[in-house]
Symmetry: C2
Subunit: 225 residues, 2 copies
DNA sequence: TTTAATTTGAACCGAACGGTTTAGTTTGTC
DNA sequence: GACAAACTAAACCGTTCGGTTCAAATTAAA
């Protein structure tokens, strides 16, 4: 069984990446700016965030901020790139390819539900949805580093288990996508729209279990190996 | 089988509601304002939209706008309330309770996938996700008028069919939510994050069929009545 | 035609916006 | 201790923001 404590890595606090204006500055103040920008952008959105507020949140003068980043748009894009990288790093190991089928699926489901309903997961999702019209590249980056990574990992895993005869799937892309979708049942929408807060471990477990059950009802092989 | 043409009603163009400052004005200019505000808010978001731009889009002077609505926040809330009402109106009849089981489910899935990936469905979803932190009530309203309505209708339908012995479901709330989630597989995320544009009727049909198949694999009764 | 109610464009307000500049201070290195 | 780099607060730029005001124009009923 998958313990909940090990899931924490996916929803850890934030320490921004090393991206700066001219490739890999010493980056002390630079990271401060990214951290402050991240905080303000996530809370207020792109238009709602002012550069003055970001500088203040970063504990940095506005002049310094503009020494590191050409303008507000660029700063926002850098923040989101770093955030997407973090996301894909935390998500790529979401499935244990060596575990028994049901255990592997349940573990992945637990981690996925946990992340998607976490404050961090919600923040990233919210701002990417909000700004992916104004910044189309950010939408793509989010998909590639989030749903895309998960789907790719799942497809890989599912194909292996199909060859082992543990699963019976025609379209592994569709199956992987359905697995991810099932993990969003019950909790995700309610969390996103403020109907519930952070779900309890029990609620997460139930949602994950039900997702796996429905998934296996469709794609699992009847009984014997 | 459900034809695609009858689905149009859910994704029709917009004619705003009759809400105004002091209960049901003659509402000619008032509707103009709401229509213009809707357009600009949907495209730019709350902070990105300026009142001058809204007035211009509405073909109305800023003074007139402020004669009808106390301030920008109130105008935004009114627009979103009207939009949520439209949504719940278009969505409440999404399932035909008298059709044979599989046909009813497939019809509902088709309509749901079509709406959720439509330009209108995406616009409403995007802005509600974006602004439901700044305006918590809007998040709730969206949930109640969208996912909430669908879930409620589905729960109702599923319970009926369980009593008829056509389905075998423990938790109808969970099952209804999973049905909705399955309809978002494959297309919804890609559409939201700009990986694809408007999906083809064929893609919608495939997604809906696969959703129903997985749903029935879990909750359908084996074979005979 | 008189009267009252709306609507209009335009000017206007103080505040905040993104972004720049400057003069001066801290910092790390040799 | 000297020196260059990085940083700072603060003033400043022009623009735009949400919101108000007002005289003139338009409308609609009487």
């Amino acid at each position: 069984m998958t313990s909940l404590t090990e899931l924490q890595s996916v929803t850890d606090p934030v320490t921004p990446a090393e991206t700066c204006l001219e490739g890999s500055d010493k980056g002390r103040k630079c990271d401060q700016v990214l951290a402050g920008a991240r905080r303000v952008f996530m809370e207020k959105g792109y238009e709602g965030a002012s550069v003055d507020e970001i500088a203040k949140a970063a504990g940095v003068s506005k002049a310094t901020l503009y020494n590191h980043f050409t303008d507000k748009r660029f700063l926002f894009i850098e923040v989101m790139k770093a955030e997407c990288d973090r996301q894909s790093e935390g998500i790529k190991d979401i499935i244990n390819p060596n575990a028994p089928l049901e255990e592997a699926l349940l573990g992945a489901a637990m981690r996925f539900v946990t992340f998607k309903t976490s404050t961090l997961g919600q923040e990233i999702f919210r701002i990417c949805v909000a700004e992916s019209m104004r910044f189309p590249d950010i939408g793509r980056s989010f998909y590639d580093s989030g749903p895309g990574v998960i789907t790719a990992c799942m497809v890989n895993f599912l194909e292996e288990r199909c060859q082992k005869g543990e699963l019976d799937i025609d379209d592994c892309e569709m199956a992987a996508s359905q697995f991810g979708a099932l993990c969003k049942a019950s909790l995700f929408d309610k969390r996103t729209f403020g109907v519930i807060g952070l779900p309890s471990a029990a609620d997460i477990a139930i949602t994950a279990e039900e997702a796996v059950r429905t998934f296996l009802a469709r794609y699992g092989v009847p009984k014997g190996a």
